[in-house]
Structures are given as structure tokens and as C-alpha cells.
Subunit: 358 residues, 2 copies
DNA sequence: TTGACTTACGAAAGCGCTTTCGGTAGCGTG
DNA sequence: CACGCTACCGAAAGCGCTTTCGTAAGTCAA
């Protein structure tokens, strides 16, 4: 481990060169595996570099090469809302993939009084990043507009409503909710309600569309007040669900599709609080696959997505764009995995039949 | 907005200099507000820079100055466990504070087969970062050992069991759990159990210590099996709580202190699942102040900490260390805020008295 | 042995910015 | 008018690395 050697105070290529009696250029080429270096010299140089704890200065290298090898990421500015459970996972995947290729991830936040585009512009303009990844995409997203005209390679996790000419990767939210409705319909549910999210966020919009389309196509019944928008966390979900529960029993939905697991958990609490049984009187379905969904009672049926892998794929994509700038926009669609658990059962399931498994 | 000007392809100081008929040195000094520049010239230069969309190259500047202006952060490698709800908040606060001072945050992850110290060493050694922030600190933490001998300024969120000679900031976990026990004792609880976390993590160890000390000092009763270690998520919490519930009613705890809100929620599910009432038969208390704690039923009493502010303070501290390397280690202790809600009541509370508020 | 050709390396010019040093013009003072 | 002084700016040397170009030695065929 080079880490055990004394600290790399000023170990430069120049010092290595003097130490070995070679020129700086030779050292550089030997370390970077250029072809026109004698095998013997290369090994001698690399051995010395290892032993003396040489580490290239990334600023110098970047300046000389004119490349950046850094990807930018701006944290979504939703401080008021739930701390996004994906974010850590996605960042982890992204950072891992970048680290494997010796690229860096530069993370920034949006200070009060600035907007996201200002921050992106600052990072791009000062040549601090050579590419960008953005997440939590809105249907119309100024960040995408900016990046599109900036010429900087970028990858969008999620997509806008006009996702034609840039690279993105996304869960097939619409299909996922279509699958969810199919699943509920097969079990016999007809009256299916939906707690939808912030309609300016595209993932929420797409799930909502999937719900509406599938309900129309598969003969579900959307009663008055069945579709509630703007539910972003467990607290607002609880209120909204209580409104649903105030509908007379005949018109009340037997199943509830929730835009996220957090919303689903809020809904479950409201149902339990009203003395009704989740998965018996009302089936509840979430989206995300949060670990907590396995611990609530009954365990939450959900549409699972692997955020870590999404982050890694975003990393691969943006690296591809950066290293081969002529490459065409690439788009990847993932399918969410329907994970049946105890919170969804056929309507009218008696307590005895109630599936307790996880 | 400079963003509306044509892209900054090759707008360098050299071009500015030619354009204005000045030397490069003058441009640089004018832009950086050196004293020996005529006011008129300074304004002329800054105006031209703005209009031509000049942005300094950070690599060049860093190379010339020999400073880094970047803080490193390595994402905790707990992929198997819960995605830490703080992380996003802390990162947000940290990145915000750094952004306000035009510093950058470099985030890395730990690829399979490497450990955290390798990653830190790589970032420090290649001069990519000038300071470090670490989180999720263990009682004995190799990262701290490494950073201590490396000479790099760093701040630890949390602390090790030997927190004497470096900078850290932490919640007073021990005091928080002492306060929690006091609160429960004042309400009349005697038999108080504790779901503790991974004992190698110092926050969990400290909370556990607080529980043990306070129980000894305040005359609580710790029955057999009351203290359960290694509970890190809602799922394991559910199992552990079921074990507690299997104790005969006379010896069963009337209150349950949980190392985190996620654990508390798992415990609540187990209690509800056993047909008992949270806040009636057994009071439950968490730690974190997650939003979801307000949505569960009954609402979760918890010890609240503001992760965003912790992140910002970490940023301030590490900036202080980096800009004034001679400054002494600084240590900040925060108090968690006890937030009473409905999940905790005096023992033997009848359903009628049961506080339903949130 | 000579010529052309390959191999392996040194010399040196950058990359874009900072900063020290020195010099000129303008000012005031005696 | 000579002197010193300040204010302002240009020249130039880096920061540590990359890369082009050139060249000396080594290889091979004729």
C-alpha cells in the first residue's frame, strides 16, 4: 500500500525524473503506458513511482489534457418535502460507476436565492465538470433546456414530456401503473382509487396516466374523488385517504394505488385509524420497494425499482457520452417489478383468508 | 445573465488581454481585486469579462495557486441496510455551505473490493480534495485514524470513542437517551426496554449507554431480554419486538426506547400486530424526527435532529480548518429535541384517555 | 558498409492562471 | 530642476503534467 509510505509532499514527475535520470516526458509516457517506451524502462518507472508514493496532480493533468473527468450532480431542491430515499442509492450507484473509471462526482446544492440552472451553469462554465446527471425530472424542466443548448454531455434520470433528442434512463412508470391496475382487476377489484403526486413531476404524471389509461381500457371504475393529486408524503396521504374513507361504503374504492411507498404508508395508517383493514376492506399498493414496506402490517405490495442499479447505469451512460462525444443519445427504459405482499387481496376477503405472509 | 452569452469556448485571460490591450497579469489582478489596479481599469476589465462570458478555468487556477477548494465525502458503504435518511439532508447542508463559499463537494463511493480508507487515500493523494468530511462514524474508525495521520483537514460528523484531538460535531446521543428515560420515568414507566443498534456504530453505542446510565440512576427496571442490540431496520425491529411481547404480561416492558425512528416503526407494527395498543399497552419512542413519524398511528414520539443544519455546520467547520490551517480542532455538541406525540403515554392509560393528537 | 527504417528517449512548447519583480509615468517636495 | 515616492502596469517565471517533434542509437536488407 502506497499509503504506508511517507506523505506525498512534493513528489512530482520532475522529482521522479531526476531520481531516475530520465526526462519528464519519458516518465509521463511510461506511467501512462504509451507504446514507444521500452518495457524495461516502463517497469522501472512504475516501480519507482509506486515506491516513492507518486500521485499525479489531477489539476495539472486536467489542465494539460484539456479534459475534466468530473461529472456534476445538483441535489434536488425539495427541502420542504420528504428526503428522497432514492437519492442516496442513486448517488451511490453513480459514484461507484464513476470511481471504477477514475472519474469524479461533483455534488452541489442550490443555495437560497439561486435556482438549479444557475448552479449548473456555474459548474459548467467554470470548467469544473465535463458532464452532468440530473434527477427528479419535471415534465417541463429548465435544467434539460439549459443542458441541451449548452453542448455539455448529460444524462437525465427520468425524462421530460419531450424526451426525444437527449439521453435519459427511466422507469416505465406508465406501464408499471398499467400492470398495477391489471393486477388489481384480475383480483376482482373494480373501484380503484389513486393517490397521485405532484403533477409537475414527470414520474408522478406518468403513473397517473398509466392509471387513467388502464382504468379506461380494463373497465375499472373511477368514482368521484377517486383521483387525488398533489400527495407527496405520508402526512398529506393520510388526509387524502380520510377523505376517501368518508365516501359512503357502496361507492368507496376497494383498492388504492399510491404514487410512492411513503404515500402508501400514510394511507395505510388512515385506513387502520378508521378501524378498517388494509388488504381486507381496502387493498393498498405502493411504488418504490422501500425496506420499510416489509415491516409495516400488513406488508406492502409495491412496484420495486433498484435505484442503485439506475445510478450505475446513469454513470455508464454519461461516461459513454463524455468519452465518445459523437455518440448518439441513448435511452433506457426499466421495468418496475411488481412485488405482491399482504396489503393487496381480492375485494371482500374475510379476515380468515387474510394473507399474512410477507 | 452571462448564461445567455455564446458559449465560453476558449475565452481565456490571454484573449481578454489581447482584446483590451492589457497584459495577462493585469487582467488577473483586476479580476481578483488586487489593490494595485486603477479603479477605471478594474471596471473596464470586469465589464469585458462579463460581456465576453469569461470564466476562469478552475484547474489552471488551482494549479497556479496550489490550493484545492474541494472537500471530499465518501458515501457510507451500508448498501445492505436502510438507505440512510439523513444522508441526503446532510449532503444538502454541506454542499450548500460549500457552494456559498465557492468550494466544491467531491462525492465518492466505495467500489466492491475496496475499503473506505483506500478511497479516501486516493482522493487525498491525487490532490483532488483539500479537506474531508466523514459521517456514520464507528466507535473505532479507520477513516479517522487515516485522516489524523494524513495532515488533511477533516471534520467528523459523529465521533469515535477517543474524540480528543480532531474536529467533530455530533448529537449528544447519550444525553438524549437520558432525557428520554427521564421523560418516561416522569410519566410513571419503570419497565423500560431498549432496541439498540449496531454497537460498533458510535451513535448507537452512545444511545445505549445513555439508556443504561439513566436506568441505573433513575431507578428504572431492566428485565431479562429488555436490551436488544443489533437492530438496524424496521424488519429486525419487528422480530425483536415480538420476542419482547412473548414475555409474560407482568414482566413485560411498558415502554420501548428505539435507536431510530425506522426501528420504532417496526416495533409499532409488531405491537399492533399482536393486538396491543401502542401508547396504551406499550409506549414507543424513536430517534430522528423522520416525517413519516407524524403519519403513523399513533404519531411517534421522537428525539429530533436537524440533519440539514448539521451538514451546514460541518461545512463551516471544514472550511474554517482549510482556510486557517493553524486553527485548533473544534468540537460541537448538539442537543436532540424531545418531541412528544401520541405514541408515549403514562403506563396503564385507558383507551378513553388515549391521546389521539399528533 | 551504407542507406533506410524502427525504437526509445530528450527537448521544449504548451495548458490557463497567479504572482513576483521591475520599470515607467506622474506626483509632490526642496 | 533633481530627487524621492507612489500608483499602475508589463514581463516573465512558474504550477505539474502532456504531447509533438526531433534525434541518437539500434536493426535490417542490400
Amino acid at each position: 500500500m502506497s499509503r504506508s509510505t511517507p506523505r506525498n509532499e512534493t513528489m512530482s514527475i520532475a522529482r521522479l525524473a531526476r531520481h531516475l535520470g530520465l526526462s519528464e516526458g519519458t516518465i509521463s509516457r511510461a506511467l501512462n503506458n504509451y507504446p514507444d517506451i521500452a518495457e524495461k524502462t516502463r517497469e522501472r518507472v512504475q516501480k519507482a513511482a509506486r515506491e516513492l508514493g507518486y500521485r499525479p496532480s489531477s489539476s495539472a493533468r486536467r489542465l494539460a489534457r484539456g479534459v475534466i473527468e468530473t461529472i456534476g450532480f445538483v441535489l434536488p431542491t425539495c427541502r420542504t418535502q420528504h428526503s428522497d430515499p432514492f437519492l442516496a442509492e442513486i448517488l451511490n450507484g453513480l459514484a461507484t460507476e464513476l470511481a471504477l473509471h477514475d472519474w469524479d462526482l461533483l455534488v452541489s446544492a442550490v443555495p437560497d436565492g439561486q435556482n438549479e440552472v444557475d448552479v449548473i451553469d456555474r459548474l459548467v462554465g467554470s470548467c469544473k465538470v465535463g458532464g452532468f446527471v440530473i434527477a427528479r425530472t419535471r415534465r417541463h424542466d429548465a435544467r434539460v433546456d439549459y443542458l441541451r443548448q449548452s453542448g455539455v454531455p448529460f444524462v437525465v434520470q427520468g425524462r421530460t414530456d419531450d424526451p426525444s433528442d437527449y439521453s435519459w434512463l427511466d422507469i416505465d412508470n406508465e406501464q408499471a401503473f398499467i400492470d398495477a391496475v391489471s393486477y388489481l382487476r384480475r383480483l376482482g377489484h373494480v373501484k380503484i382509487a389513486c393517490l397521485s403526486g405532484d403533477p409537475t413531476m414527470n414520474f408522478a404524471w406518468q403513473r397517473r396516466s398509466g392509471y387513467l389509461h388502464a382504468m379506461a381500457q380494463q373497465g375499472g371504475h373511477i368514482g368521484v374523488g377517486y383521483l387525488i393529486d398533489g400527495i407527496t408524503d405520508a402526512v398529506s396521504a393520510k388526509d387524502a385517504t380520510n377523505r376517501l374513507l368518508s365516501i359512503t361504503e357502496n361507492d368507496r374504492p376497494t383498492a388504492l394505488l399510491c404514487v410512492t411507498d411513503a404515500v402508501a404508508i400514510g394511507a395505510m395508517q388512515a385506513i387502520n385509524g378508521a378501524g378498517l383493514g388494509v388488504g381486507r376492506d381496502i387493498s393498498v399498493m405502493g411504488f418504490d420497494g422501500l425496506p420499510i414496506g416489509q415491516a409495516v402490517h400488513p406488508a406492502l405490495t409495491t412496484l420495486h425499482q433498484d435505484s442503485y442499479e439506475i445510478g450505475r447505469e446513469a454513470g455508464r451512460m454519461v461516461l459513454g457520452l463524455c468519452t465518445d462525444p459523437s455518440s448518439l443519445p441513448k435511452q433506457t427504459l426499466w421495468q418496475a417489478k411488481l412485488t405482491p405482499r399482504a396489503s393487496v387481496n381480492p375485494p371482500g376477503t374475510s379476515p380468515a383468508q387474510h394473507n399474512q405472509g410477507g
